[in-house]
């Protein structure tokens, strides 16, 4: 089984986000970055399938040079090689354009399986994988929490709402979008880190007709969410004082204890 895993680099979960002065996105200059959470599980799942069925795991990430750190980490964890779709302003592409650029980069690889995360932690479109499947002509399944792959068939467990699940069987090649938390992610070993240095990272650039096509959706303004409730913040930075005040308020004001 040859598997391609799509991995996106996003702002660190704990990063303090500052809105840029045009209020169209965040200031990226001083941010630290990490891999989008579900993509880490997509890679883990791919490595596990490879352990069972042999083949190759290729990671593909699109973005500026800084995404090389995501690629290096994936190679250190055990991916065999990588494709880096390079460009500085690709973050603002629509999911359709992103999927088009990724499709262009991986089409000739003719993978048996393509794994993506189910939803990115920054834009959170939840679409790139499904659109990519359509562009590559592959059947797909989303929110996958278990992959049962053999040489003969692919059976996957999908999460539905409210504690329901469903199994699907489909032919390969196919595309799966992987849910977070479905396994224990392995860390890179020192040996893995050394080995990664010799692995191939191919750079490609997306074609102009994809990047320059007028966007059909555009962010006009970014801002802090409006609060739906007036929150009483207690303790003024002192957590213990806040706790004392909270107990009183729950008793005398909210009357829930």
């Amino acid at each position: 089984m040859n598997i391609i895993v799509l991995m996106k680099q996003v702002a660190n979960k704990d990063a303090i986000l500052r809105i840029n002065k045009e209020a169209t996105w965040i200031e990226e200059g001083d941010l630290s970055f990490e891999v989008s959470e579900s993509d880490g599980y997509a890679l883990e799942e791919a490595l596990r399938v490879r352990e069972k069925l042999q083949g190759e795991v290729v990671v593909c990430s699109m973005g500026p040079q800084r995404v090389k750190s995501v690629i290096k980490d994936a190679l250190a964890r055990g991916a065999d090689r990588a494709i880096h779709v390079v460009g500085d302003n690709l973050g603002h592409l629509s999911p359709y354009a992103t999927a088009s650029a990724l499709a262009e980069a991986i089409r000739d690889e003719k993978p048996d399986l393509v794994f993506t995360g189910l939803q990115s932690d920054d834009y959170g479109y939840g679409q790139t994988g499904v659109i990519l499947a359509e562009l590559l002509g592959l059947p797909h399944a989303t929110i996958v929490i278990e992959v049962d792959a053999s040489a003969e068939r692919l059976r996957v467990k999908r999460e539905l709402e409210s504690g329901w699940y469903q199994w699907y069987t489909m032919p390969t090649p196919a595309l799966l979008t992987i849910q977070s938390g479905i396994s224990q992610i392995r860390y890179a070993t020192l040996k893995g880190i050394m080995a990664a240095k010799k692995k191939e990272v191919k750079e490609v650039t997306p074609s102009a007709e994809i990047v320059d096509r007028p966007a059909h959706q555009r962010i006009a303004r970014v801002y802090l969410p409006q609060k739906s409730k007036q929150t009483q913040l207690l303790g003024n930075g002192d957590a213990k004082a806040g706790a004392v005040e909270l107990a009183q308020k729950l008793h005398t004001e909210a009357r829930v204890i």
Partner: protein, 328 residues
């Protein structure tokens, strides 16, 4: 010229998914503002009873798009069916509820039109006959206003809770039209949906819930939350990562893939407040959040908040509650 609004109605075996009515409510508001007619679409091999039910709402028409291949939901089947309907109606807007089923096929549908969805919107407004959609980004930390500049149709999905189902206005009985749609090869074979285990714990009846999130850091630290729960007479619950890590069993998970609860008091410890968690608990009476990040989205819906370290706050809170309860 493209005209009208198509709204997709989701069901399982003819049973309506209530978030579809939220999408109907959204469509009605946009329809009035844009002076566009609404067509509701029910997909399925035998969904005529549901189509009749939807006809009671204030829409111009209900289409029941049928084909024998649509007995069970598959992304291939639903994409073909909806592509057929959208091409035939040539609408300005296609609105869908942002459910798991919709996220499974709607991006594929939009791609057939060279587009993507404006997905998971929390609201939409009209000014000078152009629509601005608002969606959450960065896991709920920021909002983004999104406009669509391109050619119609515009595809958008509404997050659960963007509108209330009871906002959907009833009408005088819309016409129902049954059509047979073209559906090509279906490549995936679904098995019957199932529940993993009989849920041992029913948190929907709990009066007070103490819920822990990733901020609790380790399984050992759960004892801290257990003590607070004990002092409050509360049930213990958790966000998804805690259950994924098996620190607590899955039947204690709150959220879109877990349980939906509405206790009179919900105490969230080290939970960021991702939308998939919020949908499971936002109707709680009094919501308390303890989180060290002042920008955590959980504070948007909290009545009381402590911005700070839960490891400092929780032991003190536990002791204070014991005092109050001891005195009363």
């Amino acid at each position: 010229m493209s005209n009208g609004i198509v709204v997709f109605i989701e069901h399982r075996n003819g049973v309506l998914n209530k978030t579809s009515l939220e999408a109907v409510a959204g469509a009605q508001l946009l329809g009035s503002a844009l002076q566009q007619e609404i067509t509701a679409v029910v997909v399925g091999s035998d969904a005529s009873a549901l189509a009749q039910e939807i006809a009671a709402y204030d829409v111009a028409k209900v289409i029941n798009a049928g084909n024998a291949k649509l007995v069970d939901y598959t992304p291939d089947g639903y994409t073909d069916a909806m592509e057929h309907v959208v091409k035939q109606l040539d609408p300005h807007l296609v609105l869908l509820p942002h459910t798991y089923l919709v996220r499974d096929f709607a991006p594929k549908l939009a791609a057939r039109f060279g587009k993507s969805l404006i997905s998971d919107c929390i609201r939409a407004g009209v000014a000078d006959s152009s629509i601005t959609f608002t969606r959450r980004i960065f896991l709920g930390k920021l909002d983004a206003d999104v406009v669509s500049d391109g050619e119609p149709p515009v595809f958008a999905t509404f997050q659960s809770g963007a509108y209330r189902p009871d906002q959907a206005r009833k009408g005088n009985g819309a016409a129902v039209e049954g059509i047979t749609v073209d559906v090509g090869e279906i490549r995936m074979t679904p098995e019957a949906p199932f529940q993993e285990v009989k849920q041992a714990v029913d948190l929907s009846k709990a009066d007070i819930i103490v819920a822990v999130g990733r901020g609790i850091k380790s399984k050992d630290n759960l004892a801290l939350a257990e003590k607070l729960a004990e002092a409050l007479g509360a049930d213990l619950a958790a966000s998804r990562p805690i259950c994924d890590a098996e620190w607590l069993p899955i039947d204690r998970q709150i959220g879109s893939s877990g349980q939906t609860v509405a206790p009179k008091l919900y105490v969230a410890l080290g939970i960021s407040g991702a939308i998939q968690h919020l949908v499971g608990m936002k109707n709680s009476g009094t919501i308390v959040a303890i989180n060290k990040d002042p920008e955590a989205p959980i504070f948007d819906i909290a009545d009381y908040g402590i911005v700070g370290d839960l490891f400092e706050a929780v032991p003190v809170l536990t002791e204070e509650i014991k005092k109050i309860k001891g005195a009363s």
